[in-house]
């Protein structure tokens, strides 16, 4: 059997080496490109999920805003208008001038209140107005509105140095808290509500606590009409943050919202 010369052996080893090397390069290109495609597909899916959640949340917010307007119109504006109408009717049957003057004065006061309430409702619904003020001012405004109902006491505290939030985040956070407070008004029957804003270096934490009757959080999530609660979680996620809810009949409800602050969110 013929043996290979050293030269031939060297060349054969070199051929095999180059063959292996070129094959590895081709395999690397295939693996790299496939990974790139997978990465793109995952990113596109995440983007799609994000947009779907965003649209869902926007629709949910719009629905809640409509409900809020309806409630305000019925409970407040409607009631005041009825009162004004009754007063005006009283004018025609008032026995003397003194009584008519008194009814007229009361009516003017009611109209004044009505105008103020309509203005406040307009401010609370107007997105541009919400973004033209700070998040603390927006909270103060909403709390004042609720306090006027005189259903319970609200403590409002701000800790740390306030940092301006991007407009979209400010609106989302405000709407979340607005909904939480409205839920307290409607369902919790508390005597004391505490709203606390805590600005730290990296994040803003909002604590909303009440001493009301509480509710079963997990059961509420499972309900068909409990999508509102799920949406609160989703909206917090949209801001890159989170929402924690703890509730029982003894200690009431405690809610914490955490969102990253602008310089660190990227």
């Amino acid at each position: 059997m013929r043996t290979l010369s050293d030269e031939a052996l060297t060349v054969i080893v070199a051929i095999i080496t180059f063959f292996t090397l070129s094959s590895v390069i081709v395999l690397f290109v295939i693996a790299f490109q496939r990974r790139q495609i997978r990465f793109k597909q995952t990113t596109a899916q995440l983007q799609l999920d994000f947009e779907t959640t965003l649209i869902q949340s926007q629709l949910e917010m719009q629905e809640q805003t409509r409900l809020h307007i309806a409630e305000e119109l019925h409970d407040n504006i409607g009631a005041l208008s009825s009162l004004i109408k009754i007063n005006l009717n009283l004018l025609s049957v008032a026995p003397d001038e003194e009584r008519r003057t008194q009814v007229l004065k009361e009516s003017k006061e009611l109209v004044k209140t009505l105008i103020t309430d309509v203005k406040q409702l307009s401010i609370s619904l107007h997105t541009n107005r919400l973004t033209s003020i700070s998040i603390t001012e927006a909270f103060e405004f909403e709390i004042q509105r609720i306090q006027k109902l005189q259903l319970f006491t609200i403590n409002f505290q701000v800790e740390g140095e306030e940092v301006a939030l991007p407009n979209d985040k400010q609106i989302i956070l405000y709407r979340i808290c607005q909904e939480l407070l409205h839920n307290i008004v409607k369902h919790a029957q508390p005597t004391l509500v505490t709203v606390r804003l805590l600005f730290t270096k990296n994040q803003l934490q909002v604590f909303i606590d009440d001493d009301g009757v509480g509710f079963d959080v997990e059961a509420a999530k499972q309900k068909v009409n409990g999508s509102g609660l799920i949406n609160l979680y989703n909206r917090a996620k949209l801001m890159g943050g989170s929402l924690y809810l703890k509730s029982d009949s003894v200690n009431g409800t405690h809610c914490t919202i955490q969102i990253p602050l602008p310089p660190f969110e990227e």
């Binding site: 290979l4 030269e7 051929i15 063959f19 070129s22 094959s23």
Partner: protein, 224 residues
Amino acid sequence: MTPRIIAFADSWVPFVVLIIVVILNNKKLYKELGFLFLYLLAQFVFNTWANYLPYYYSDHRYSNTTNNYYIYHIGLPVAFLALVYFFKVKQKDLFFSKAFFLAGLFLFFYFIFSSFFVQTIATFNYISYTIASAYILAVCINYLQRIVHVDIEFDILKSPVFWFVAGLFIYYSTSLVVFFSFSIFIKKLNEMGGTVWSVQNIMMMVGFALITKGILCAHSQTKR
């Protein structure tokens, strides 16, 4: 003794690929890949001619009395020009398309010039083969690096051009070693030639198998 199936692989491998092309009977393929088929045809014709000639004159394939080197002097420019045009058509980047085409044309004329004035017709033109291999590798590397760096949306495993480039890249990276080694071990060319060619032919089988995969990809795409 190298098995004949391997020793003559450089003849039958391109022939088998061409037979597959004929069996596929897809006219669109001829239009799409005409230059590639021309390259395969050149490989088959000139390799068969070069393989057959020594047997015709002598019992020994690499007999000193038989000189088949002039066939390689004809075969190289023909096969090379077919590939140059193939790459020109398939290259997406306008700059590289022009640059490689002009460089390819220049090399084509150099190979002809070299056959008369550098490595004459009576010697094996390994310098020209080395340069041609380096050129083809450069084009392939350019294509592969584009896949890594440029945002390509499609799956390359379904791309015929990728398979052609992968096949040519693997085949010519080993060819480069073979032809370059001839410049070092020139005095032992005849002695080592048979064994080295056989190993090289195995690499050719791998490379051309990938090219066949590319042809089948192109066939399935043009049939849609």
